[in-house]
Amino acid sequence: MRFFSWRKMIGFMMAMVFCLMAAACSDGSASETDGGSADKEISITYRSGGGTNKGLTDWLNQEVIPQFEEEHPDVNVKLAPLEVNEGDYFAKVSLLLQSENTAPDIVTEDTFMVNSDASAGYLEPLDERIEGWDEWDSITENVKNGVIAQDGKVYGVPYNTDSRGLWYNKELLKEAGVEVPWEPKTWDDILAAATAVKENLADDVVPLWMNSGKATGEATSMQTFQMLLYGTDDPLYDSESQKWIVESDGLLDSFKFIDTVYEQGLGPELSQVLNGQGGTVAYQQLMPQGKLAIGLDGIWQTGNWHEDGAAPWPEAFDTLGFAAMPTQNGEAPGTTSMSGGWALSIPAKSDSKDLAWEFIKLASTKENNLKLQLKDGNLTPREDVAQEPEYLEMEMFEEASSFLENTHFRPAVDKYPNVSTVIQTLVENVVSDKITPEEAAEQYKQEVTEIVGEDLVTTK
């Protein structure tokens, strides 16, 4: 018998490898916090990547976090951004919030997901905390509605709101023979202007950009489809009877409009627009290069073009105009818009809720909210910030605020996120010619009925 054998040696080495693997799999942060209990950490999750939310990141890094760490020297604030497509952000957040090990302490929620995530038990109700906080009263009433779930409780503090319209390049439209300032009165006016661009300008100029793919997620549903749909007589949801409208002329016409844009070659290449980075390409590259004439999108795009934005373009505000989206045939009130916004929420499984709340309060003060809007180029949810001269002087702010007069909010009901993904899929299928607008309308009816149940749908 020998004491040394290769078999034993191999066995020993295997055991070592397994121990190392087990150590690598365990949560590394546990050992870090053992070092000193004074060092607490709170983490903030939001969407980033490809210039997305650059204003928000800068604002957190340069303004809010230094202030907070000065007030709480023993707390370390960690940014935990998710670099994903807009379409993937919400699923990823839902997964993160399911476990104590992965839940951040603060999460930025698009207000359309607040109700849904709150119903799933992922978010902490903030009612008791809000009671002792007077700043809550300065938030605009209709923006507050976005963060109140169906159980009547508040689940987030809004930090911005927005409106949507038609960005257009004055020089390109003028060159194409369209009168500027451009004020389209009907959907046909939009098509006419885009056609003029296509016929009179170089081939590499995209006449009209609308988000049209699944990868661009909610942007496809809200900035494109609902901007069209709410310009017809038929909304998505009948709030009186509390039913989803699954069959209407408006639905069909909206699909038809989108189809027409691509059939007539007025849209961008599918390889550009169906891509998750589509929005970045359009507003950080094509628009500044003078290769995009008209784009249907939100006010926050101005954030890209500020001097510390993702694609600085000082001439943007002279070159571009921001026109109101007309209703289908110019029906009263003549224009339409959609508004949403984002909120700071505390996950139910966060382990530092009190600190998270302190952070949210600090981030939501009048001064800090003003600084955010100046960096990010969005609209403020606070009434007092809206009076500030600095805010009033913001580029394109006047147009964007005027759209709020005829704006709409997405249905604040449980199933909206699911209906929205149906819309995204159908829009992509229409633009890539997989189905006709009529088939899209038919499938919309079928799939939404499946999702919300037969007793919650109606036709018009």
Binding site: D88, D117, A120, Y122, K434
Partner: protein, 309 residues
């Protein structure tokens, strides 16, 4: 050393003869097997049972149904078969399977193997390394390579432009062909290696005998070689089919299942339902169907080739 072997033999002998006697070492085997049984139970059987259970519920990723799971019976399966996108996905899966697994990997792999048979060893090694390079590359890297190659501003379009041709948006104009070629490029080496091994086992004498009897090379291939490697063909067919049924990363990275539904195979459809449309219950139901399709395909191959595995 010799003594060790002797005692081992004795032990085997005693356990074989005294079958009815209780084996004193049995508990030791159980003890040694226990960790792997437990691991299998927790990480393999457990998730399968959970998948089975969830596919009969309305579990969702968010919303009230994320908290209150309800048993919905066969509802997920009923809506699946009524869903036109599901039917499209099944068709896309079959097309992808046929083009990339059966036509591409299987036939191309066989051709490579037969062409390399009995060639110069250096030549065999060189070609082998090149083909296997595609196989050892991780799927996600393969996908990125092909995106870089077929992209609007990718290598292929650069070449086309250089010789005066217009760019083609390959991934949008020919999405299915693109992902199939990428998958063939990635997977052919596996089939090639399986066939090489079994072709080497065909005795040379039989081939020679057939040639002397006047059989042409083609006849030798069809009448002699193919029947003799039938077993490996079936095994390879099953392995490649199952592998291709589950391809997700490659398609998801290259086309995301689009444009529209062009490359939406069942795994992509499953992902979309579970993580884009937030319907986890429906998603797991699709995964169950995918599993059943895999089993049926395997049985079909085994039966039709009449081989025992």
């Amino acid at each position: 050393m010799r003594a060790d072997v002797q005692t081992q033999r004795n032990q085997i002998g005693s356990s074989a003869t005294g079958k009815k006697k209780k084996d004193p070492t049995a508990w030791r085997s159980v003890l040694f097997l226990l960790p792997s049984w437990l691991l299998l139970l927790v990480f393999f059987i457990g998730p399968i049972l959970l998948t089975f259970y969830f596919s009969f519920t309305n579990l969702a990723l968010t919303g009230t149904q994320a908290q209150n799971i309800e048993f919905v019976g066969f509802q997920n399966f009923v809506s699946m078969f009524e869903d036109p996108t599901f039917r499209i996905s099944v068709m896309k899966t079959i097309v992808f399977l046929f083009l990339s697994a059966i036509v591409g990997q299987q036939i191309l792999g066989f051709l490579l193997a037969i062409l390399m048979k009995e060639k110069n060893p250096t030549f065999r090694r060189l070609i082998g390394i090149i083909v296997i390079a595609g196989w050892v590359t991780p799927e996600i890297v393969v996908a990125f390579c092909w995106v870089a190659f077929l992209n609007d501003n990718g290598t292929l379009n650069m070449i086309l432009n250089a010789i005066g041709l217009e760019s083609v948006t390959w991934l949008y104009t020919f999405p299915m062909i693109s992902v199939c070629i990428a998958n063939i490029w990635h997977g052919t080496a596996f089939s090639m290696m399986v066939f090489q091994a079994s072709l080497d086992d065909v005795p040379k004498t039989i081939e020679e005998a057939a040639t002397i009897d006047g059989a042409s090379r083609f006849q030798v291939l069809i009448r002699i070689i193919l029947p003799m490697v039938k077993g490996s063909i079936v095994t390879n067919m099953i392995l490649v089919t199952l592998q291709t049924l589950g391809v997700f990363t490659l398609i998801f990275t290259m086309t995301g299942g689009g444009p529209g539904t062009s490359t939406q195979t069942l795994p992509i459809f499953m992902y979309n339902q579970a993580f884009v449309n937030y319907q986890l219950g429906y998603g797991t139901a699709i995964s169950l169907v995918l599993l059943i399709i895999g089993i049926i395909a395997s049985l079909f191959y085994i039966r039709s080739m009449k081989v025992k595995i």
